[in-house]
């Protein structure tokens, strides 16, 4: 049996069950720098069991659609934000949980200027840039322990663009 997932656009509403969309949509919270800059304030729910927030840089190989998804992971001890350092889109895979096992994943396609913050413990795919340098700033928990659960699907999902 092959299973298919179609990508959907990433919006705050479609992604709400899994985390935060980090972008400059809607009205800014403040205008700063003598009117030259708009601040969209405190957009990510950072949430760590212990340890502290840190900023790391990830450089990943790029992929293209369709792709076969076999693995998702979650971080029980902390949220994780992926902030692209280019205007290229990336694929965001997330899944709900049923008794410690991921449900059927959903796949979201970003547009330029969008990052995401996975809430603590949410099943998600690994970083999946669809083009460009594959460079991201990642805000996640710095602390002890593995902070990682992995789930491998017996049958992969084929993710296609819509």
């Amino acid at each position: 049996m092959t299973r298919h997932i179609r990508t959907e656009p990433l919006t705050a509403e479609t992604f709400a069950a899994f985390g935060d969309v980090l972008d400059a949509s809607g009205a800014p919270d403040r205008t700063i720098n003598e009117g030259r800059c708009q601040r969209y304030h405190d957009k990510a729910r950072l949430d760590f069991s212990d340890g502290r927030a840190g900023v790391s840089i990830f450089k990943s190989e790029t992929v293209s659609l369709p792709l076969t998804l076999t693995l998702v992971e979650r971080h029980p001890d902390g949220s994780q934000a992926f902030l692209p350092m280019s205007s290229d889109p990336f694929l965001v895979v997330a899944a709900g949980d049923r008794d410690g096992t991921p449900k059927t994943p959903r796949a979201f396609l970003t547009r330029a200027g969008q990052g995401v913050n996975f809430h603590r413990g949410v099943w998600h795919g690994v970083l999946t840039p669809l083009g460009g340098p594959g460079l991201f700033a990642v805000v996640d928990r710095i602390g002890d322990g593995a902070n990682l659960d992995e789930h491998r699907f017996a049958t992969g999902f084929i993710i296609t663009s819509d």
Copy 2:
């Protein structure tokens, strides 16, 4: 009297007195995602007197060189990281302190894939994108109080590319 500052390339060494360069230079600290991704771990010295780290999105007008610098600011209660969400360069201005007043600023030109983290209390220019969408993720202190000192130079500095 007109005063000139020439931009210099942004490197970890040239910027060390002011903060951290956030990029994928040098050897990665870890390879993750079955060998497909390199992690440059915990690159920013986040430092807050109180409050907590947060992620905000800034959308700024772009500027071009030469420009006249008249204002610098500092945040006494916390570090501030500027992470570009495009591959476009931006200008990073920073200055040492002498008795509460900024010394002559220095101006650094980023290349694609570089962000910065200003250490707590360091005098710096406001966000200055030199092209592109002017979109940045900012990791700074979320907390009470203004957390802002500003200094206006009686005579502006003209910043030119080298």
